[in-house]
């Protein structure tokens, strides 16, 4: 009789760090192909259309990269927070806070032209940080569960934004709920002429590197990891847990806020209702796929940007509902978490000789 057994590992071989996310993504595509077939489409044609729509042409490729930029930021935000076991499900709201701050600052007439972009970046990051600090304070002082607090705040911020869009920010001409445009000088410069690839893309890449440096090379990063792994030992070692959680929230919220700034300053130049189709939640999946490593967030974000960009094309060509992208998102999170099992355990096949 053959038995499968999980036995604990001494340490995780390095190649697993790359192999596991890839395996999870592969498993996801295989599992979701069932849904494609259910929709009556050919699997290869559907996936082909998906990736074609994402990477098939220069235009599509740039669209994917542009879409990846807010995802990198939200992925980073979640990766940093989760390291401290601060369950920041509020990246969505923090993104919107940053976006609103950027839209407000970017429309101010009294600011000199050169100051607009830096002010928006700073203001957006601060707004996001503030939005994340509220649940952090609630957690540290009042023992409120961070999942609930960050989630509730998402809805509060969203409705606040809708109130603004329906009121002082309503477009007087069209009557649509979208805010006035930011000033021309507040727009992010484009990295490539005549394309939509804006400064935010570069900022996202820089953000990933800086976040990685923060987590691996600074005392704060050290403290964050310690608090996340073993708060008691960290406390015995003299680390001020409450302060670390608050700082983590600030960094995390700030990163998510920058995602919002990018969408306003680089892409839409205003705030509208559909500004974020769930970037904050996708960030969670991205962070887990990247195993909370800031550098790994970049390829993971690109993957999900590709899925999101290509889904439209796939839907048009093969009739598979565009929501396959959402199912892929959920499935990959589950597959990735299951795959993580193999970092701590290895599979042993035992042959049992009875008697």
């Amino acid at each position: 009789m053959i038995r499968l057994q999980l036995e604990p590992r001494a340490h995780t071989p390095a190649w697993l760090n790359l192999a596991l996310p890839l395996a999870a993504l592969l498993a996801t595509l295989v599992l979701c192909s069932g849904l494609v077939m259910l929709a009556g489409a050919d699997v290869f044609e559907a996936y082909g259309a998906l990736f074609q729509g994402a990477l098939g042409s220069r235009f599509n490729l740039i669209e994917t990269i542009v879409k990846a930029s807010p995802l990198v930021f939200t992925g980073l935000a979640v990766a940093v927070a989760f390291r401290a076991k601060f369950w920041n499900i509020g990246a969505e709201g923090q993104l919107l806070a940053g976006a609103m701050a950027a839209a407000f600052i970017g429309a101010r007439e009294f600011l000199p032209a050169w100051s607009l972009v830096p002010a928006m970046i700073l203001g957006g990051a601060l707004a996001g940080a503030a939005a994340a600090t509220v649940p952090a304070v609630l957690k540290v002082r009042y023992r409120v569960d961070d999942v609930v607090a960050t989630l509730m705040l998402n809805f509060v911020i969203f409705y606040a934004m809708m109130a603004l869009l329906d009121g002082p920010w309503k477009d007087p001409l069209s009557g649509y709920p979208d805010s006035p445009d930011i000033r021309m000088d507040a727009e992010y410069p484009m990295l490539l002429q005549a394309t939509r690839m804006h400064l935010g893309v570069l900022l996202a890449a820089v953000g990933a590197v800086l976040s990685w440096l923060l987590m691996t090379r600074t005392t704060l990063g050290f403290a964050i990891r310690a608090v996340g792994e073993n708060p008691r030992a960290a406390a015995h070692g003299g680390i001020a847990i409450g302060r670390v959680v608050l700082l983590t929230a600030c960094v995390s919220g700030g990163l998510a806020g920058l995602a919002g700034v990018g969408e306003v300053a680089g892409l839409h130049f205003q705030v509208m209702a559909g500004l974020s189709p769930g970037y904050g939640y996708t960030g969670i999946v991205i962070a887990m796929l990247a195993r909370l490593n800031p550098l790994g967030v970049v390829p993971a974000a690109l993957f999900f940007a590709a899925i999101a960009t290509g889904a439209e094309n796939m839907s048009r060509q093969t009739g598979v509902p565009v929501f396959l992208a959402d199912v892929i998102q959920g499935t990959s999170l589950i597959c990735m978490v299951a795959a993580l099992l193999f970092t701590s355990y290895r599979l042993r096949i035992r042959r049992h000789v009875p008697g």
């Binding site: 340490h11 090379r217 600074t218 005392t219 990891r225 406390a235 015995h236």
Partner: protein, 228 residues
């Protein structure tokens, strides 16, 4: 306690030893009384403050409160002193210095570990204790407070640990050993304090008492009169 002595704390588990250790370590606030070092009362005790005053503590729960099993051994070993100039400047870590420190201590204390970067959780109990000792002793504390120092250790490791305590005593430092092992306390302590139900019942000179007397006190018996 005085410098140049080893003070043993005896008592049946659950009579306040853990709380005592936590108060001295600065984790817990005392309900009554205070901690004083060198005659100075410590106003707002915290692990950092006590560390700076030269009080080092090794918690009883090695993997729950001492080391962090999921992190590399070097990280666990510099955990209490990560802000030290040796290991970080302006918030930036000096990874080489951290690694070197860990390697030094692994060699000096003969810790059986493949290297400074292995996961802390892969070490055996005895080696974990050595690592905890190393990380505190490397900074020459004035007082070392340690709970159940040789629990689960083999004979060689136990001797090693005791030698470190005696060595500290020779250098004029103080060691507070909280242990359930009376034999151990009688082996190395100069004086023994007995705790019972959260109070110190008596502090006796080791030379002038016996296991029986201490045992009686541990069970709550009267302090005077019962010389062996």
């Amino acid at each position: 306690m005085h410098g140049g002595e080893i003070l043993g704390i005896a008592g049946v588990s659950g009579n306040g030893q853990r709380e005592l250790a936590e108060v001295i370590a600065g984790i817990a606030t005392p309900g009554a009384g205070h901690v004083a070092v060198d005659g100075q009362v410590v106003k707002r005790p915290s692990p950092r403050v006590l560390q700076r005053l030269g009080v080092a503590s090794i918690p009883e729960d090695r993997i729950g409160a001492g080391l962090i099993t999921a992190l590399p051994l070097s990280d666990s070993m510099v955990l209490p002193r990560i802000g030290d100039r040796r290991f970080s400047r302006f918030g930036i870590l000096n990874r080489r210095a951290i690694r070197d420190f860990a390697s030094e201590q692994i060699a000096a204390f003969d810790i059986k570990a493949a290297g400074p970067e292995v996961r802390t959780g892969t070490l055996s109990g005895g080696n974990l204790q050595k690592a905890l000792l190393a990380r505190e002793l490397a900074f020459d504390p004035l007082v070392l407070v340690v709970a159940q120092p040789t629990r689960g250790l083999d004979v060689a490791a136990r001797e090693f640990v005791h030698r470190q305590f005696l060595d500290m005593r020779t250098r004029g430092r103080g060691v507070v050993v909280i242990s359930e092992d009376l034999e151990e306390l009688f082996e190395i302590s100069d004086r023994i304090a007995v705790v019972y139900e959260g109070r110190v019942l008596a502090v006796l000179d080791t030379a002038e008492t016996s296991v029986a007397q201490v045992g009686l006190l541990m069970a709550g018996g009267a302090a005077g009169g019962m010389a062996a």
